[in-house]
Subunit: 408 residues, 2 copies
């Protein structure tokens, strides 16, 4: 149960005696998260953007908000902004994302959002306090573009720090935000925010899966006590890139949908395909994936020999021998399993039991969550646990939003 | 310098006082490797098989050999056999490989090799002592087929144990077999077998990269003191599978040749592509690969919008926007880097400084060796070392060959 109001109250009570950095804030205006809840609207599309993540209602936040925040990653740009509730007290946190390649569209969208924050000074619509807080690599790359296009201050913030501030906020303030997959009973389980109280939040491993993967050890308290211990170039961008040429999909969500209907055993080489059975001596079962996509070359070259090529290009002839759903499933498993294994090894190395998987790669997709969760459970023999978030793609932008308030 | 003869002599002198399992052999007939050397013939093709690994001359081995050995993996089958030198004393170890999908061709080839071992008993060509020692998953899967097709005994042996026996033999007996890549001076360096003497051979990590990857911690002495600590489904089969549909290549060697001409920066998303520069705070340089194939979807979908489709299939239209050499290079890097990182994490976890990379994935390919070597050097900050072998694909089959002799 959520019993506390705002970040400051909960954090200043740390039983370790350490002083949370927030206490040093020059301008502490915590977002009042008392009574906050995730709004269960139907998923909807607005303005042709990708399906939204659900809003978070903040019924007790009454202070004026003069900021919006963005996180411009390698593939996706994310936006968090606050809107007043017109019927009731309080307001909402709103979440949007769009491909970074559509940066100009994104800036146009930001303009429409920023307008809502202006007031009339008698002559013009203005707001001299309005700030865009920007994180992610694009906050550097597109800094001038943002500054020149938008009628507000632009404040850059460090990506890793924002991820951690955002995650800490979601863990400690938002009811029903965190969940895990219960392997035994085969179901999602929501974690009440009381279960992950401050004294037990730290330490943890944060695995953020965007275009690539960043693995961050967070010892806390506060967002400065972290180290990026590793990463991987095999992330969401890899899956998206490969499947955009190996399937006819138009976007990432369509690829995930395909993956959910595929059977990887048609393209992956299993232990049973090599041994004819399991390799019992070392505990590899016959359905263990020995080689992702390991059946493909055989199928492709056998078919090359058997049949006359019918198209102008041998690659297409070969691709047509395979089922694209199977490829999608295989590569989703391969990338997810690999991240799970590396995350486990890093958690093991640093003695961490809790692993939070975040980033837009996950998208609340069943196979992805199951695979990551299974990998952690399998490798750690149940000694480590994988956690997930409802707003998995918004840690950076949420953290940036709080960064102005925190003013560290 | 190689100063000792055979396995027994060198191993029984272990200063740890431990008794090498070979001392218990019922029938110890070590291969006499005194004065052995790798034969520098020109690379040649025989009987339409893949290019050969260089023979090993054994000028001092005079005993009769009554065996050949094979290792049937998920993608490739490997063969080791002995042939007498007709002009001089001694003989040679010969090495062959062929795709496992061509198992029937392989069996025909084995028949021709086995014939050389027969003698005339007055009526027929026979050899009642002739044994085929088989390891790898295919030794189980194709056991009946081998037994029914070949006129000799068939003896199955454990894959991991054979890998270790083979590696130990190559390390301790074959001059110029082991090498590493010297990052600083940017060149290959051969390791004299004296440098890797028995008391310092163990412990090590063996990373065997075939269709998939097996990671084995070997504490020695003897081939029974090992544990498979991990693995990955992202191996040679994955690269081969993906590139067989993403390029027009006909075989793995052609893919490696393509990779050597590609530029991964055209398809990989670099830190600099996201940030416009490096991410200095956490030490990621601008040319660091953030996301393998992370530029692809953008290129593909931009092109989708810009141009009219010209072919019957959108996948081909998309593929034609990319350079296949670049894709080959990107995926070779992705798979190699990933294996390097996992190997490092496992070596770190188990406190091992020496990492041997073996398996037919490597094929003495410059970029592969450099990438694996660089990964170990980078992650371990120079505290661990990656070693490679001239006969990298033949550890299992070589070990199987010695298994009859060792008769453990």
């Amino acid at each position: 149960m959520l019993q506390v109001s705002g970040i400051q109250k909960q954090r200043s009570g740390s039983p370790t005696g350490s002083v949370y950095v927030h206490n040093h804030c020059k301008n502490p205006k915590p977002l009042n998260a008392l009574g906050s809840y995730i709004v269960h609207d139907e998923t909807e599309y607005r303005d042709g953007l990708l399906p939204e993540t659900r809003d978070i209602a903040l019924p007790n936040h009454t202070e004026t908000v003069n900021e919006i925040s963005i996180d411009i990653g390698g593939s996706l740009s994310k936006l968090v902004y606050f809107s007043k509730d017109e019927k009731e007290e309080g307001g909402r946190l709103n979440f949007y994302k769009i491909e970074t390649s559509r940066i100009d569209e994104f800036i146009e969208y930001l303009k429409t959002i920023l307008k809502k924050y202006y007031h009339h000074d008698g002559k013009n619509l203005i707001n001299p306090n309005l700030t865009l807080i920007a994180t992610g690599g694009g906050s550097y790359k597109f800094y001038d573009k943002l500054k020149n296009s938008l009628n507000c201050k632009v404040q850059k913030e460090d990506e890793m720090q924002c991820l951690i501030i955002g995650l800490d906020f979601f863990i400690s303030q938002i009811e029903n935000e965190i969940f895990y997959f219960d392997e035994e009973n085969h179901k999602y389980v929501e974690v009440a925010s009381g279960e992950l109280e401050l004294d037990s939040i730290y330490p943890y491993l944060l695995v953020n899966i965007g275009s690539g993967v960043s693995i961050i050890k967070v010892t806390g308290p506060g967002p400065d006590n972290f180290i990026r211990v590793g990463g991987s170039s095999l992330g969401g961008g890899t899956l998206w890139g490969l499947l955009s040429v190996l399937t006819t999909c138009k976007d990432f969500d369509e690829m995930l949908e395909m993956a959910s209907h595929g059977n990887n055993e048609n393209v992956d080489l299993l232990v049973g395909d090599i041994y004819g059975k399991g390799y019992n001596k070392i505990g590899l079962k016959s359905n263990h994936i020995a080689s992702s996509m390991g059946k493909v070359f055989k199928k492709v070259f056998e078919k090359d020999q058997e049949s006359e090529n019918t198209s102008s290009d041998v690659r297409l002839d070969r691709l047509e021998k395979l089922n694209q759903e199977d490829i999608a499933r295989s590569l989703l498993y391969a990338v997810s399993n690999n991240i799970g294994q590396i995350a486990y090894l890093q958690a093991q190395r640093h003695g961490l039991k809790k692993i939070y998987f975040a980033g837009s790669y996950i998208r609340n997709h069943y196979q992805t969550i199951r695979t990551l969760s299974y990998a952690i459970n399998f490798w750690s023999e149940g000694s480590k646990k994988a956690y997930f978030l409802r707003h998995e793609g918004y840690l950076g932008s949420m953290g940036a939003f709080l960064k102005k308030e925190l003013d560290i």
